[in-house]
Structure formats: structure tokens, C-alpha cells
């Protein structure tokens, strides 16, 4: 543990700050809102994980009857919806809320009250969605909710799903406005855009993508709600509607959302690797440009989710080439991360292990992504478990490895306590083994023809894959629970964190752990994207000069 001290060592909780429940409910402090986001989204993560375990147990053997097909469809729909809309997207807003003002040297977000509104809308949207279980059953048309299935779905579960998503959409849109205004207008003197920490850069792109793509989903969902309840026929071909319109609009939003989820994960990795390699980030500018390139290209490739609908040959080729082109900036990132570690003094602390694990596993998802971008291959495996394997290696690695890396890295800053290192290392390996046991066999399931979204099967050749995956999901759940236990027990421990336990590079490490309400007493000179690293280096040089 590094124990460097800086001028700002203000008390963690000034006497004027209340810790009562109402003070949390009514807070507009970006750090408290960030913490509430993290608590709520990790709660949703556990709920989504329980849904996943039910699915895996149901599929652990042929002809299982743990849940009925109707319940299976509801749980499958709510698993995907929970993980994407209630966990991975908003957990990044949680980290962003806590870290962006600190990383840019600001006192708070641009609109603190709007910030609180974003959080409470997230809670409200989740409650609206889950309330459907109490009424006529939850939505059951999958997280993509394609018509005609979603139009014909009985009861009001699908309606509550649509309304809930609208509320979540407003929450993320308002939050995105706040991030953009904060990052572009509230930076400390010297913190130019060309000196932004990578995590803040990725939150900026996250926010722009939400602003540009979110309203398209809102439009698609509004038309779906109108078709279901008010007699319109936007998606009904019998009345001159177009059933593919929804898919185009949905994926125009949802493919960028893949990068809305992934880019902040990339940002976390870009923060962690240099600190634990004891080197500056290799290729800062290349990483920034590749982030912007991925955000832009993400809007051009939605059709690769729809190869099976029968596009003309030139359209298929366009979407294939555009999708494959994203491998270029993604490859730049992986090259730069390896370059950062190359010849570094590597310290395999828990955040570093999760970060390196993320790179390796995300690469597997990226490679299967290139395979799926080739439309003749996609047409062979579309709607099979091969696709499920791919997107869990891409999107599952973000929460399970990148977010966990971020959690282990920033936990001391957020709470003022150190996690149990030994338990953290053990939980990494349990999660790593469980993740691969769960999702790697799904490639085999898919290639041997097992369709996704089936509640049961009779083909016994799929059984061994499913048994390994189910066992893996239990191992993965144990690993996640170990992390949760580590978090809860460490909060009550005596392992107090110093301001900068890792020897961090960006401004959040300059203030106390946890930071005071006003964040900073003063700021160091900002001459690069790593002001705290620069300060430490100047001090070391000064010490050397004095010694000689």
C-alpha cells in the first residue's frame, strides 16, 4: 500500500454534515448520489443474477420442470432487462457520479438536483417494471421485445415494461445532460479536454451516445405502447405497418448501448492498468481517439443484429464491413493496454487481476463478434446459444470484470476502508473460473444447434454443455457473493484507507478517503492527464536533488 500524503487531507465528514436517513434521501451531493446508485444497481445485479440461476437450473438437463414455460419467458425477459437497463448502464452512472467531479477537480455536478432526480427515477422505473410480477405477470417477449410477440403479449406486464423503460430512459437522458455539462463546463483550471482522465472521457462519450440514441428507443417504445393499447398499427403488416421497423429502431439504440456499457468499462481499465504497472498510460491520445471512433461507429452497425431478416446483398456487406471496422479502434485499445503493461513493474493487486482478466475475456467476445459480423456465419448461428456466449463475453465481462476492477480500485476512496486483499484475490479466481465454466460451453451449445430462449429441450447431446454451464453459474454466484461479503465486512473493519493507497494518477487520489463534502481544499498543478503522478514525480526528483 502506498502512503504518500498530499495537502488536502480534510476530515471525511465535517461536523455540519448529517448522516441520518433523511440526509441521504434529500442529498444532492454527487458522491452520496453516486453511492446510492452503486448500492441500488448492485441490488439489481443480485436480482438479475437470481433470475439467471433459475434459468440455468431449468436448463441443467433435458425436460426439466422447475418453472413453467410461461414463467421461464418472464424470468428470461427480466434477466436481460435487469442486467442491461437496471445494472450495467446505470452502474456506470454511479461510478461517473462519484468520480467525474473528482477527476476534473470540480465541486459537484453541473445540476445537483437533476442528478438526484436521475437516481430517484432509476428506482421508480425499476419498481414499475418489477411491479408487473405482482399483477398479471412480467413482460415475456425477451429483453428485445420484438413485435408481433410484444404486441400480442397478454396482460399488462409488457405495458409496465414499456412505461418502466420510458422512466429509465428519462433518468439516463437527464443524467447524460448533467455529465456533458459537468465535463465541458466545470473543469478545474488546467484540466483541458486533452488532459481528461480516460474514465471521464468514456463517461463523456457514454453521455453523448445516450442523448443521441435514447430518444430513438423512446420513439420505438411509444409506438409499441400505442399499438398495444390504442389501436395503431405501426408494426402490424396486416394494416400497412412494418414489423421490421421496430427492429431497426430498437437496434439503432441498442447497438450504441453496447458501447454505452463497454466504454466506461474500458475507461476503468485505462485508469487501473498504468497505476499497477507503475508507468504512464501508453498512447493516451490513441485511446481517446479510439473511444470517440467506437462511439461514432457504434451508430452505423445496427443491421448486424438483423442479418436473418433478409437484407439485400449490398446492405449485408455494408453492415458486415462496418461492424468489422469496430475491431480496429478496439484493437488499438487492447494494443495500448498491453503497451502500458509492457516492461512495467506489475503489481497483481485485486483491481489489476480483474482488469487483466477483463482484457483476456473481452478479447474472446470480440473475436466471436468478428465471426458474427460475417453474415454467412451469422445466418448459420443466429438465435443460437453461440450468440448468447458472444454477448456474455462482451457485455458480461464489463460488469463481472471491469466493474469489479473499478469497485476494488475505488472502494478505498469511496468508503475510507480497504477491502480484505486475500478474500478479493480468492473471489477473483472463483469468478474467473465460474464465468468461463458458465459461458464458454455456450459456444458449443450454439454450434450444435441449441436455440436461445427455449424453456426446455430434449436433445441429450446438449446436456453436458448445460450441466457445465449450470455448475459454472453456481460457482460464479459464489464468487459474486464473496465480493459482496468482502464489501460489507470491510465497511466494519479497522483497515482504514489512506488518501492514495495505490499510488494513483488522477485527481481523486489527491483528496482524503472518503473526500470531504467540498471535495478539495486545493488542487495540484494540472499539466497532464495524471496530475497526482506528476506531483509525486516532482517530489521524488526534489528529494533526489536534495540528497545529492
Amino acid at each position: 500500500m502506498v502512503t504518500e500524503t498530499y495537502p488536502t487531507q480534510a476530515p471525511a465528514a465535517p461536523a455540519t454534515r448529517s448522516d441520518g436517513l433523511w440526509s441521504w434521501i434529500s442529498t444532492v451531493d454527487h458522491k452520496r448520489i453516486g453511492i446510492m446508485y452503486l448500492i441500488l444497481t448492485f441490488f439489481f445485479f443480485l436480482v438479475g443474477g437470481v433470475f439467471a440461476l433459475v434459468l440455468r437450473l431449468q436448463l441443467s438437463g433435458p425436460s426439466k420442470t422447475l418453472v413453467s414455460p410461461e414463467i421461464y419467458d418472464q424470468i428470461m425477459t427480466m434477466h436481460g432487462t435487469t442486467m442491461i437497463f437496471l445494472f450495467v448502464v446505470p452502474v456506470m452512472a454511479g461510478f461517473g457520479n462519484y468520480l467525474v467531479p473528482l477527476q476534473i477537480g470540480a465541486r459537484d455536478m453541473a445540476f445537483p438536483r437533476l442528478n438526484a432526480l436521475s437516481f430517484w427515477l432509476l428506482l421508480f422505473g425499476g419498481m414499475v417494471m418489477y411491479s408487473s410480477f405482482l399483477w398479471t405477470g412480467a413482460a415475456d417477449a425477451g429483453w428485445t421485445s420484438y413485435p408481433p410477440l410484444s404486441v400480442q403479449s397478454p396482460g399488462h406486464g409488457q405495458d409496465l415494461w414499456i412505461v418502466g423503460l420510458h422512466i429509465l430512459g428519462i433518468s439516463s437522458f437527464v443524467g447524460a445532460l448533467n455529465f456533458i455539462c459537468t465535463i465541458h463546463n466545470m473543469r478545474a483550471p488546467g484540466m483541458r479536454m486533452s488532459r481528461l482522465p480516460l474514465f471521464t472521457w468514456t463517461i463523456d462519450m457514454y453521455a453523448f451516445m445516450i442523448v443521441a440514441a435514447g430518444p430513438v428507443l423512446a420513439g420505438a417504445l411509444t409506438m409499441l405502447l400505442l399499438d398495444r393499447n390504442y389501436g395503431t398499427h405501426f408494426y402490424n403488416p396486416d394494416h400497412n405497418g412494418n414489423v421490421l421497423l421496430y427492429q431497426h429502431l430498437f437496434w439503432f439504440y441498442s447497438h450504441p448501448v453496447v458501447y454505452v456499457m463497454a466504454l466506461p468499462g474500458f475507461g476503468m481499465i485505462s485508469e487501473i492498468l498504468p497505476v499497477f504497472s507503475r508507468k504512464p498510460l501508453f498512447g493516451y491520445r490513441a485511446l481517446v481517439y479510439s473511444t470517440v471512433a467506437i462511439a461514432f461507429l457504434g451508430f452505423l452497425v445496427w443491421g448486424h443484429h438483423m442479418f436473418a431478416v433478409g437484407f439485400s446483398e449490398p446492405v449485408q456487406i455494408w453492415f458486415m464491413l462496418a461492424s468489422m471496422s469496430i475491431a480496429v479502434p478496439t484493437g488499438v485499445k487492447i494494443f495500448n493496454w498491453i503497451g502500458t503493461m509492457w516492461m512495467g513493474q506489475l503489481r497483481f493487486e485485486p483491481p489489476m487481476l480483474f482488469a487483466v482478466g477483463f482484457i483476456g475475456l473481452f478479447l474472446i467476445g470480440g473475436l466471436s463478434g468478428i465471426m458474427l459480423a460475417i453474415y454467412p456465419i451469422d445466418q448459420q448461428v443466429t438465435d443460437t446459444y453461440f450468440v448468447v456466449a458472444h454477448f456474455h463475453y462482451v457485455l458480461g465481462t464489463v460488469p463481472v470484470f471491469a466493474v469489479m476492477a473499478g469497485l476494488h480500485y475505488w472502494f478505498p476512496k469511496i468508503t475510507g476502508k480497504m477491502l480484505d486483499r486475500r478474500l478479493a484475490l480468492q473471489s477473483f479466481w472463483v469468478i474467473f473460473i465460474g464465468f468461463n465454466m458458465t459461458f464458454f460451453p455456450m459456444h458449443g451449445m450454439g454450434l450444435s444447434g441449441m436455440p436461445r430462449r427455449i424453456a426446455t429441450y430434449t436433445n441429450s447431446s446438449w446436456t453436458i454443455y448445460n450441466q457445465i454451464a449450470t455448475l459454472g453459474s453456481i460457482v460464479l454466484a459464489v464468487g459474486v457473493l464473496m465480493v459482496m461479503w468482502n464489501v460489507l465486512s470491510s465497511l466494519r473493519s479497522s483497515r482504514t484507507a489512506p488518501a492514495d493507497p495505490w499510488g494513483g494518477y488522477s485527481l481523486e487520489w489527491y483528496t482524503s478517503s472518503p473526500p470531504p463534502a467540498h471535495n478539495f481544499d486545493d488542487l495540484p498543478p494540472i499539466r497532464s492527464e495524471r496530475p497526482v503522478y506528476d506531483l509525486r514525480r516532482e517530489r521524488a526528483l526534489a528529494r533526489e536533488g536534495a540528497a545529492s
Partner: protein, 38 residues
């Protein structure tokens, strides 16, 4: 407290982005109407 010029810049930027969002939503609905009734 944020100084007034920064607050004004924040409000202007938020307003521009909100208008952009509304326009994208409206454009999506218009596309829907044209495709299904055109």
C-alpha cells in the same frame, strides 16, 4: 456555488441537448408514421 457565467453556459448546453433529444424523438415518430402509413 457555481459562478453565473458557468451556470449560464450549463443552462445553454443543457437546453441545446434537450432540444436535440426532442427532435430525435420527433423524427423517430415521423419515420414510424411514414413507414406505416406512407
Amino acid at each position: 456555488m457555481i459562478d453565473k457565467p458557468t451556470a449560464t453556459r450549463n443552462l445553454k448546453l443543457a437546453l441545446v441537448l434537450s432540444i436535440l433529444g426532442v427532435l430525435i424523438f420527433a423524427a423517430t415518430m415521423i419515420v414510424g408514421v411514414i413507414v406505416s402509413h406512407g
